[in-house]
Each structure stands twice: as structure tokens, then as C-alpha cells.
Symmetry: none
Subunit: 222 residues, 2 copies
Amino acid sequence: MNILIVEDEIGIANFLQQGLEEEDFIVTVCDNGTDGLHKALTEKFDIILLDWMLPGISGIEICKAIREVNSELPILFLTAKDTLQETIEGLKSGANDYIKKPFHFAELLERTKVHFRRDASNSTELKLGSILLDTERHFVSKNQKEIPLTQKEFALLEMLMRNKDKICTRTEIIEQVWDIHFEYNTGVIDVFINSLRKKLELSENENYIQTIRGIGYIAKEI
Amino acid sequence: MNILIVEDEIGIANFLQQGLEEEDFIVTVCDNGTDGLHKALTEKFDIILLDWMLPGISGIEICKAIREVNSELPILFLTAKDTLQETIEGLKSGANDYIKKPFHFAELLERTKVHFRRDASNSTELKLGSILLDTERHFVSKNQKEIPLTQKEFALLEMLMRNKDKICTRTEIIEQVWDIHFEYNTGVIDVFINSLRKKLELSENENYIQTIRGIGYIAKEI
DNA sequence: CTCCAATTTTAAGACAACCTTAAGACTTTT
DNA sequence: AAAAGTCTTAAGGTTGTCTTAAAATTGGAG
């Protein structure tokens, strides 16, 4: 996990770097706004800790500039500017959290971790109603009962579950699950959807895998 | 945007409710932990504001219970427990933010909005009165109730909603929805407009889809 | 290497959902 | 009152999906 710290007070920067490295984060420090913004835009970080008052570009400017390009990257302000107006200005500029100096390192650490948590996209455990799927163990269960699936069945279910509440078109499915990248039409998908529904015993009122006629399928909580 | 407030001090709850409703949020209040948890698990909210000390189940327990099932839902603690240990405990239990009482409403509001931002930025939702249409989920609802639509119905409604407050001529509709690029006259459009109105239960005084005689149709907020 | 079992793919008929058409009722305009 | 445009309904006709079974392929054991 890569953290970028943009902070000009060397004492604070070192203190943070040391503390975060002890927690096994990979830390990069910039002591001015210009470098900070440049690094933020060109390298890949998982989170940014940002001071407000900086030589070069101010924290606010950096924050706004990052948000122009990247709306996902978590940005935490870390600043001595502690009035209500400033707090709001900081949050409005696109930050995800606003921590006022002086702060406890333990709280900063915890607030930092909050933003790593929600990155469930690479989680190995997926859930859909009473259905659980673990990609690592290649294991699927429903109501605590294991459901043995074949390779293709598993891959198809995984794709649907990773895209929960999003439509998977037939083309997307053929591409991702079957790795076929040209015009193709056959009933394979239907056959496997059918066998998934059967094995998972999806009745009328447990319609987790719905068909979107003319388009594809969707996995939905009900 | 639906907000659930779980708070037993009526004064604070009312204050929050009023403030948030002025900002056009839809607010639900629970004055005890048991109801709060139940509502959080059974209804659909976009964010939860949670007191720590509550009659029934404590905020911490609620937070953990929600996280068992839903790792995405933003949870904000809002509490008088302001020590470092408590803050950390709150965040560790799965909360996304931890706001200490007394707080400024403006800051609370801003911190709440932080969590809507990233949803909104990549939203695929269109709104027309109480009607919501999500292209990605191929989902339409009115007053929180799902309205199942067919392909063509969906495409037609999507076109009208994308052009909200703009007239869609019959020719434009036939071109975009039916992909027919030559002179064509038949009642298809009328039939589908009719079935949309029926399924969406658009009465006289909810005339979201209006006829522009001789030209086409228009979707309008009323 | 060969055979067997399990998995994957193809194919086809049955089925259901959807789209289109057309015709008559209704509304608005001239 | 006539004409033009729209609404409503219901009956085919079409298309996409489900289901089943058999053929083809793969992977592992002997």
C-alpha cells in the first residue's frame, strides 16, 4: 500500500513516515506542493496525506487538481487550519477526510485504514443473498451448504457476482468467461446459466440471477 | 438520497432531521438501537448517522452487525465519546467517519456529502419526479418500488429522460429507439408510450410524459 | 499411451416474452 | 362537423431464452 505525504514541516513528515512504515505501508514524502502534485498525478498511490499550507502550490489546489483527473483516490487533509470555514473548504475541494493538527497518530492511522478497507474490489469473498463465493478456495456455498461447481460454472458465477447489480451482456460474458473476442453465437451461456440456477436451486422467489432479455444477465440481491 | 439517523436524544435527532431535509435528503429517524439495526438491515439507505450510546443495542454493535452484511454502506459515528481510545474503537468497528459532539452542523453536512460524491460521480441514474432509471442496472423504480420494463419500453423511457424538458420528435424516437432511418409511420411509439404510462401509473396530476401534438413527446418534471 | 469419467459445447424443439400491426374509440383542431 | 392526430386494445408473428440430450473435448488414472 503506497502512501504519499505532502508536508513541508520535516519533523511531522518524518514522524508520519516512520509511524506508517512501521505499519508496513510504503511511504513517499514531498516537501512542497509542486513536487507533490506532480507525483500524485504521475505515480500510483493508494492514499494521499496532504498539508494545506505548502511552498509552491497549496494543498487545496493540489486536491482540486487531483480530483479533476481522479475522483477515487482518497485524500486526507492534515492541517493546522482548524476553523469551521476551513474544514468545510477542505472537504468541499474534494478531500475524503480532514484531520486537524495536532492529532494523535493512532487516530490518523485508523482514519487512513478506513480508506483501505472499502477497497473490496479485490476481495476473495463475494456474497449474493445466501450465496457465498470464495475465489481463493474455489468454493461456493448456499445456506452453509457447499455447492460443487465446475470451472466454467464457477467463472460465470464469479463474473456475475463481481458485477453485482450491474448487467453483464452476453458479449461481455463471452469475452470474460470464455475469452472469445469475435462474433459468436451459441447457447453455451444459456446452458451454464441454466445449470447454475439448478445447482443453486434458485426458485421464483429467490431469483438472484435474472435474465435481461436481449441483453444478458444480472446478479441481484432481492 | 436516504439517510438513517439512529439517535435517542430527541433534540439532536430533530435538529439533524430538519437540517438534512432542508438539503433535500430523505431522512428516517430511529430513537433506539434495536429499531435502528432492523431498519438498516431491511431498508435501503445511502448513509447512516449513528449515535454510540443508545437504548437497546449500542452503536458499536449496530455498526459491526451492518458490516457483517454490507461493507459498502457509509456509517458515520456521531457521539459524545471523544477520547482517543473510543474514536479508534469506533473506526475499527467499521465506521467511515467519527464525529465528536458537539459538532457544527455545517461540518457534519460536508462530511456526509463526502460519501455521496463518489457515488454521484460515476452514477448512471436518471431522475424524473419520483421515477428513477439506472442504465447500468437496467432498473426503473417509482417511489422505491421496482417497475419491470421490457427492452423497448426501457429504451424509450431512457431516451425521454435523457432529454428531460426537451421535446423528442417522433422521427427522433424512431431513429434512436427503433433504429429506423426512413419514412415510417405506424403506431408503435404510441403503443409503447401507452404502456409506459400504464406501468408507471402516470395519472392526470403526475403527467411526467406529455404529448406534444403533431410533434412528439416530452418528459417533464411537474 | 489409452481409456474413462467429468466437463464443455452444440444443437434442436418447446416455450414464453416481446414487438408490431391494425382497427376502433377518443380527443383536439380547423 | 369533418379531419387529423392520438390512445387503447387485442391478436398474430417474431425472436430470444430455456431445457434437454447427445456429441465433442479435456484431464487424470492405470
